[in-house]
């Protein structure tokens, strides 16, 4: 078998996925995150509160991908504990955001839902997700 024949078949394989794009739900969730950024800029006190919450959360220690104690935030209506991502380097700063995630993501944490579900995410200032919890 020569490389040309193999490359031809690989190109056909590539052509079969050439026009595919992410699901519309992904775009919708990201747009929501962008709008949240705009809201943060309009309400600086909220940003400060978020930063304080993140500092508290990071202060309790982010060791292990495991459920931790609930942070005292009664308005959050959390239905799962925080799940922390141990596979990323530590950071000093980050943000707490709420967004819709697809049911497949929730299922990875044992949360079975029929459709998109709201979740709180802690995003480090390097853009990587540090922790997630699901809310009603």
């Amino acid at each position: 078998m020569n490389d040309t024949n193999l490359e031809r078949v690989i190109r056909e394989l590539a052509a079969g996925t050439a026009g595919l794009e992410a699901a519309p739900a992904v775009s919708a969730a990201l747009r929501k995150a962008v709008r949240a950024r705009a809201a943060e800029r309009r309400a600086p006190w909220w940003r400060a509160a978020v930063a304080a919450a993140v500092l508290v959360l990071f202060g309790v220690g982010l060791a292990g991908l495991r459920g931790g104690p609930e942070a005292p935030a009664p308005e959050m209506r959390a239905v799962t504990p925080w799940y922390f991502n141990v596979g990323v380097p530590p950071v000093e700063n980050g943000q707490l955001i709420r967004m819709e995630v697809p049911p497949e993501t929730a299922a990875r944490f044992g949360v079975v839902v029929a459709g998109p579900v709201e979740a709180d995410l802690i995003i480090g200032d390097d853009g990587l997700t540090r922790a997630i919890r699901f809310v009603q």
Binding site: M1, L13, A14
Partner: protein
């Protein structure tokens, strides 16, 4: 017309949806295709796209326009996201050295659809560091230099990995032919 991508990133981070639309429209398709071709899972590819663009919206620390194009940076973020998603899962099979390709074309005599399916399966069975050079060089049609930049390796490494990947693909296809 040149697009000021660093400016668009700053505007996106400030909550400008129009700037986000431009960045997402330009870069989401290749990031999604890469994640899909690497993982074979539309759901995982969606998650990777979400994580990559969330990173862009919430900081994207480390992107330096002088160091390279945004697309290479986003591919790099997608690679890390995929690696994290796959952590804990069984790695793909490393093919043994015992079966040598015999020189016959293992795709000969097969219908085109079957050829594509066999290559898809063989590609999915490649170790990730070989599969990604095939995806970047042959499917995304990046140059060796662009691929080397994304992977953070020398151009020679890209060449040798691609050569080795093709060799492994032929072996896998030959073995499928024997087992079929």
């Amino acid at each position: 017309m040149a697009i000021d991508e660093p400016g668009l990133i700053l505007r996106t981070q400030a909550g400008d949806e129009a700037a986000f639309d431009v960045l997402y429209g330009r870069h989401q398709p290749p990031v999604y295709r890469y994640a899909l071709r690497m993982s074979g899972s539309p759901e995982m590819a969606d998650e990777v796209v979400q994580e990559v663009f969330l990173g862009l919206i919430h900081g994207a620390r480390g992107y330096d326009a002088k160091a390279g194009p945004l697309r290479s940076y986003l591919y790099g973020m997608a690679r890390h996201a995929l690696a994290r998603q796959r952590r804990g899962e069984r790695d793909f099979e490393e093919l043994g050295e015992d079966l040598e390709a015999n020189g016959d074309d293992p795709l000969a005599g097969l219908a085109r659809e079957e050829q594509v399916e066999r290559v898809r399966g063989a590609l999915a069975a490649l170790p990730a560091h070989y599969r990604e050079v095939v995806v970047f060089c042959e499917m995304e049609e990046l140059s060796y230099a662009e691929t080397a930049e994304v992977l953070g390796v020398a151009i020679g490494t890209v060449r040798s990995r691609l050569s080795r990947a093709k060799s492994l693909l032929v072996k896998r296809l030959s073995r499928q032919g024997v087992e079929a």
